[in-house]
């Protein structure tokens, strides 16, 4: 594509972790490659939808703010997910809406007031060289992202997008209020009970579903550790096997770890079950110290909820 048809956002200040993400890398987990992809699929999909994109177009995942971008051309953008006190020059910008950034204007992300991950989308999605069919950035593996090398955004780098897609983006659009999640509310996380559920003691199962769990400081795109009453399983370790998104693993210390997008492909701890994709999305917005609750759900019900969500964007 010639430079005349490309627009760009320049990174003036990089922030702790801003990465390009799409829905993830599939078909390569047998090679040991992680899935990657937007940690909050709900906010990611809505943000793309706001601007008329395919649901899986590459968007920017901005963690904890601290990022400043400058427009090199007038462009339409959409912002969803966490409220990181974003503003355009000095005008405050509420998430869950599309907006225009004029040439030379600054888009500044402050610090989180609700949630931790904001999504920024441009018409047609951000551009990059896909690695194994995906632009998702996995820092640990040095794969994907805006430069293909798995790096988070750095100062003075540029994010490019197509200018020809701009006309297709809708002029004003906002996410319906009932679809905007308030990440300050306690998170109730639907969990599909898994194969080893019967190996946990009765008391542990009661505690798992009737007590609050606290999000630990050890929480990132790989997984979220939860602290609370110790869960006891009759099996401490198993032969390593493939782990799905949202798997709730319980290591010998009894404190569950929920595995998210950048998890390693195989692991060997017993599992309480699997969080639904939307529960993973909600958990990915929690700050350390927040309380979360597990709510057991049936596979058929969870699958129906996920299908309805996906169908809304296809």
């Amino acid at each position: 594509m010639s430079s005349a048809t490309l627009g760009a956002l320049r990174v003036e200040k990089a922030g702790p972790l801003a990465t390009l993400q799409d829905v993830g890398r599939f078909g390569s987990r047998r090679l040991g490659m992680t899935q990657g992809g937007a940690a909050d699929l709900h906010a990611f999909a809505w943000t793309n939808h706001l601007i008329g994109n395919r649901w899986d177009a590459a968007a920017l995942e901005v963690v904890l703010g601290g990022l400043t971008l400058v427009a090199e051309q007038d462009t339409r953008l959409a912002l969803g997910g966490a409220d990181l006190q974003a503003r355009v020059d000095d005008r405050p910008l509420t998430p869950w809406q599309a907006f225009t950034l004029s040439k030379g204007e600054q888009l500044v992300f402050g610090s989180p007031t609700s949630g931790v991950r904001a999504y920024l989308a441009v018409p047609g999605g951000f551009q990059g060289e896909p690695v194994l069919g995906s632009l998702s950035c996995v820092v640990r593996e040095g794969l994907g992202g805006h430069d293909g090398q798995g790096r988070a955004l750095a100062e003075n780098e540029r994010l490019t997008f197509s200018l020809t897609e701009q006309s297709r983006a809708e002029k004003t659009r906002a996410v319906p209020v009932d679809q905007r999640l308030d990440y300050r509310q306690p998170a109730i996380l639907p969990l599909i009970p898994g194969a080893q559920i019967a190996d946990f003691t009765g008391g542990s199962l009661f505690r798992a579903f009737n007590h609050a769990w606290q999000v630990d400081t050890r929480a990132d795109r790989m997984g979220v550790r939860l602290t609370g009453p110790a869960l006891r399983c009759r099996h401490q370790r198993m032969i390593s096997e493939g782990i799905a998104l949202g798997a709730v693993q319980v290591p010998p210390d009894g404190q569950p770890i929920v595995l998210l997008n950048d998890r390693q492909t195989i692991g060997g701890y017993p599992r309480l079950g699997t969080l639904t994709p939307l529960a993973c999305a909600r958990l990915a917005q929690c700050q350390p110290g927040e309380k979360v609750y597990f709510a057991a759900t049936a596979l058929t019900q969870a699958q129906e909820a996920y299908r309805l969500f996906r169908q809304a964007f296809s």
Partner: protein, 240 residues
């Protein structure tokens, strides 16, 4: 094969549990299961994660519901035959420079096994290993089973930085690190082979079900093949 079990792994995955123990004889069955899933699920197949005794089958819930996905798997399992092509496939050879400077736990392996250096190298190299799983990092394979005499526990404190190509042992498994990464395995040498390459078709040099043999080479050959001779210091011994 024991009776296979299907375990729910979320809104879009079933875990097929074929075996209960690690065994090289598992691999032709797991390879066959992977192939049959690719054919039967077609476009609805999203990903497969084979490991020692299981296969995680990740499907598209917009194309198949959980019940239908389960039905397909049950049907495949009812008629599954081991894929013996996997056994007859060529043995891949990994050249290794066994040396204290790049394999600081080589001397520990001598002490623990009661073998002299030449015997340790010969024992590590003479077995035809089976690739049981990939994971930990792109292109990192878990191979076994190592001769019982060469069994060593993982390091007490994992290294922050294991050089690329490091050949290592832990328990009854052996492997090589595709790239610089943290790691707690015992280093006994280094291979100049490129284990993971984004420009290679299929990326990973080794796949689940492959058979692998290590071949001792000297420093001169190692350097000729492009190996990096930068030394690594020894790791802390495990007390377990």
């Amino acid at each position: 094969m024991s009776l296979p079990r299907l375990e729910n792994a979320g809104v879009d995955a079933w875990l097929v549990r074929l075996f209960d123990a690690i065994d090289e004889a598992n691999m032709p069955w797991l390879t066959a299961l992977s192939r049959r899933c690719e054919q039967a699920f077609g476009e609805a197949l999203i990903d497969l994660v084979p490991s020692y005794t299981t296969l995680l089958v990740h499907y598209d819930p917009l194309r198949l519901d959980a019940g239908n996905a389960r039905f397909l798997l049950t049907d495949i399992l009812a008629n599954l035959q081991p894929d013996n092509d996997a056994i007859d496939s060529e043995v891949k050879e990994l050249p290794v420079w066994y040396d204290d400077s790049v394999g600081p736990e080589l001397s520990r392996l001598e002490r623990a096994s009661g073998l002299d250096r030449a015997a340790v190298i010969q024992t590590h190299g003479e077995h035809e290993y089976c690739v049981f799983a990939l994971g930990f990092a792109p292109g990192f394979v878990f191979m076994g089973s190592l001769d019982k005499r060469l069994e060593l526990p993982r390091l007490k404190t994992p290294r922050q930085r294991v050089p690329a190509g490091s050949v290592a042992v832990a328990g009854r498994q052996t492997s090589a690190y595709p790239r610089v990464s943290p790691g707690g395995w015992n280093l006994i040498g280094r291979t100049p082979a490129v284990l993971f390459d984004r420009n290679r078709e299929g990326f990973s040099l080794l796949r689940v079900g492959d058979r692998v043999r290590f071949k001792a080479i000297d420093r001169q050959e190692f350097e000729r093949l492009g190996g990096d001779t930068t030394p690594v210091s020894s790791g802390e011994e495990s007390q377990s």
